[in-house]
């Protein structure tokens, strides 16, 4: 089979330019409505639950998960499904424990909630550090992935791809703030869900709408193994550790948490997670089908020839079933996906710098609207440039571990402090600081000593820490240290404020 993949075709460029044109127009529209801090960070709290559900799903369905999971299923079969399931199961935790209190208690960042009754400056410094490090690792992984994927799909040089992505994302966030970022995210989510649905429809069309036929074809070609659990989960401890990172990390991702401030109230926040979980779950079921469809209709050999990791399985299948036009469409969708995800991350990182560090710590909470918006825009620009530089610096590096690390830090630095500050009266400033730093340093140190970095990247013969993901240690240690230090250091003021926090958390009185 001949493929147009790897070179810019007329259709892919046309679809891509159309997307860029529409999103820049939205940015222009949003810029006129983005003057205050609430508008810049939280889209003026004007997003509905349904829209936010799409935007949340958009934030979560990265190109890496779309192309990566489809490829994993195409090459490894059932194991790809196990991997996808892991990324969904954190959403109920967000729904049950975090979304509503976060919306009722905070303003723009999750540090708002952690600092609600604790000492502002140390807490904001520390929580923002956790947020920023999470965002940076996630961002590096996304940028490096973006560069290589765009190179594979359009044949653009890596650096050029990174610079295009970086400049567009800076434009969205800098001028259009959260309003533009949200609508870019919504459009991308609709395109991605729509494109995948069409692709699955075409697969089923090829198999006479008979799933069994699809499974029969892949098992005939690649053996029974492809529909059975393989080597992904062998060590129970390893699986549980990764499970903890994914499950609780979702509830600690700053760019996800920030979205709950864009809806008017806690009720919409709660509804938005339900929609998001539905969209993401549906998307993973589609991706699973796409992977098998690619194995059956494109063949593993060709998929691996184009990219060893299987990342081009979905685009190749699109071409096989819908020709060059559909390939062009899907490639543009993947590009859009990359853009939207990095824009969301940049905004979350910038808000940690401007809202928490600059206004909360340096200005001690005394900055007017104008100053804060200006600070937020400068932070956006700096973070955007940093993302471009890091993307280029890490070219060709193995950055796959960084997503796991970001989830581990989110689960063990951000989530425990957030949860305890909402639900535990005796939580203290010292307890929070120790908890966050424990989660953060343990995650980073243990991942360096783990097989993924110590052996695969630093080329040592044996890992010092046996597990690939450190969450099973760092998550529990963060809680244990947080509880222990809180019990050793009493904070009367914080305890006294717990009652009003509780009322606001459950009833929403005084929520912004």
């Amino acid at each position: 089979m001949q493929t147009a993949l790897g070179q810019p075709t007329l259709t892919s460029i046309a679809f891509f330019l159309l997307f860029v044109f529409v999103t820049l127009y939205i940015t222009y529209w949003a810029a006129k409505r983005t003057k205050t801090t609430t508008e810049f960070y939280a889209a003026g709290r004007s997003i509905t639950g349904f829209q936010n559900g799409l935007a949340l799903a958009g934030d979560y369905m990265s190109a890496a998960s779309f192309l990566g999971i489809a490829g994993l299923v195409a090459l490894k079969g059932y194991d790809g499904l196990i991997y996808a399931v892991g990324f969904l199961v954190g959403w109920p935790i967000v729904t049950f424990l975090i979304a509503e209190p976060l919306r009722n208690l905070g303003k723009y960042t999750f540090a708002d909630v952690v600092a609600y009754r604790l000492k502002q400056r140390p807490i904001r410094t520390t929580a923002a550090t956790g947020a920023l490090i999470t965002v940076l690792f996630y961002l590096i992984a996304q940028m490096v992935g973006a560069g290589s994927l765009i190179k594979l799909m359009f044949g653009l040089p890596y650096e050029v791809a990174i610079i295009i992505v970086g400049c567009l994302m800076i434009a969205y966030v800098l001028f259009g703030g959260m309003l533009a970022t949200t609508w870019v995210q919504i459009i991308k989510a609709i395109l991605l869900l729509g494109g995948s649905t069409i692709l699955v429809f075409l697969i089923l069309l090829a198999f006479g709408f008979n799933y069994i036929e699809l499974f029969s074809t892949v098992t005939k070609n690649y053996g029974e193994k492809i529909v059975q659990p393989g080597g992904l989960i062998t060590n129970p401890l390893e699986a549980v550790s990764l499970g903890i990172a994914l499950m609780f990390g979702t509830a600690g991702l700053p760019h996800i948490l920030m979205r709950f401030y864009t809806v008017p109230d806690a009720k919409e926040a709660r509804k938005s997670v339900f929609y998001a979980t539905g969209f993401i779950g549906y998307f993973y079921i589609l991706t699973f089908t796409i992977g098998f469809g690619a194995a059956a209709l494109v063949g593993q050999e060709l998929i691996m020839k184009i990219d060893k990791g299987g990342n081009m399985a979905a685009p190749l299948l699109a071409e096989a079933l819908g020709g060059e036009i559909f390939l062009g469409f899907l490639s543009a969708v993947a590009f859009a996906t990359i853009l939207a995800v990095v824009a969301g991350l940049t905004l979350a990182g910038a808000s940690a710098v401007s809202h928490d560090i600059y206004v909360g710590v340096i200005k001690r909470g005394r900055a007017d609207e104008k100053q804060e918006v200006k600070a937020a825009k400068i932070s956006t620009l700096c973070l955007g440039l940093l993302a471009i530089i890091l993307g280029i610096v890490f070219k060709g590096q193995n950055v796959a571990f960084m997503v796991g690390l970001a989830f581990s830090i989110a689960a063990s630095a951000n989530f425990p402090a957030l949860l305890m500050s909402i639900f535990w009266r005796k939580f203290t400033t010292q307890g929070a600081l120790w908890s966050i730093y424990t989660g953060l340093t343990l995650s980073v140190i243990l991942i360096v000593l783990s097989p993924t970095v110590w052996v695969e990247i630093l080329k040592n013969s044996q890992a010092i820490f046996p597990l690939k993901n450190p969450a099973i240690v760092s998550f529990f240690a963060s809680f244990a240290i947080g509880i222990l230090v809180s019990l050793l250091t009493q904070e009367k003021e914080a305890e006294a404020k717990f009652d009003s926090e509780k009322i606001r958390s459950y009833i929403g009185v005084g929520a912004e």
Binding site: Y78, L81, I82, A84, V85, G86, L88, V89, W91, P92, I93, T95, F96, L97, Y211, I212, F215, S216, V218, T219, E224, V227, Q228, P229, L232, I233, T234, N235, P236, A239, V240, G243, M247, K267, R270, K271, V273, F274, T277, G278, G281, Y284, I285, F288, D499, S500, K502, I503, Y506, I507, G508, V509
Partner: protein
């Protein structure tokens, strides 16, 4: 006003029921997911068994975990939209004074 709310029967029952639902559903979710991966770790053969043509047990189980995950959030949202919001508006009316 603060103490009146805190000591009211309504607020206490609101907090209690919400915490109970959140806790039960969180435990259910942990059970579903970690059950799934421990089953994978300890009994791959079970999930690899064929049930219908080429389809193995693992496929409906994996898809089932995705659907159950979504259903759990659905249960929570349905409960909140009905029960929680009703209690909430009662409390707001009675104690917070309209708003």
């Amino acid at each position: 006003m603060k103490d009146r709310i805190l000591n009211s029967q309504e607020f206490r029952s609101l907090v209690r029921s919400k915490n109970a639902i959140s806790l039960i559903l969180t435990v259910a979710q942990l059970f579903i997911y970690f059950g799934f991966i421990l089953l994978l770790a300890y009994n791959k053969e079970f999930l690899g068994q064929k049930i219908y043509g080429p389809v193995t047990i693992g496929i409906p189980v994996g898809i089932g975990v995705i659907i159950l995950t979504w259903l759990l959030t659905g249960i929570y949202v349905a409960w909140s939209n009905k029960k929680y919001d009703q209690k909430l508006s009662e409390i707001r009316e009675k104690l917070v004074g309209g708003e």
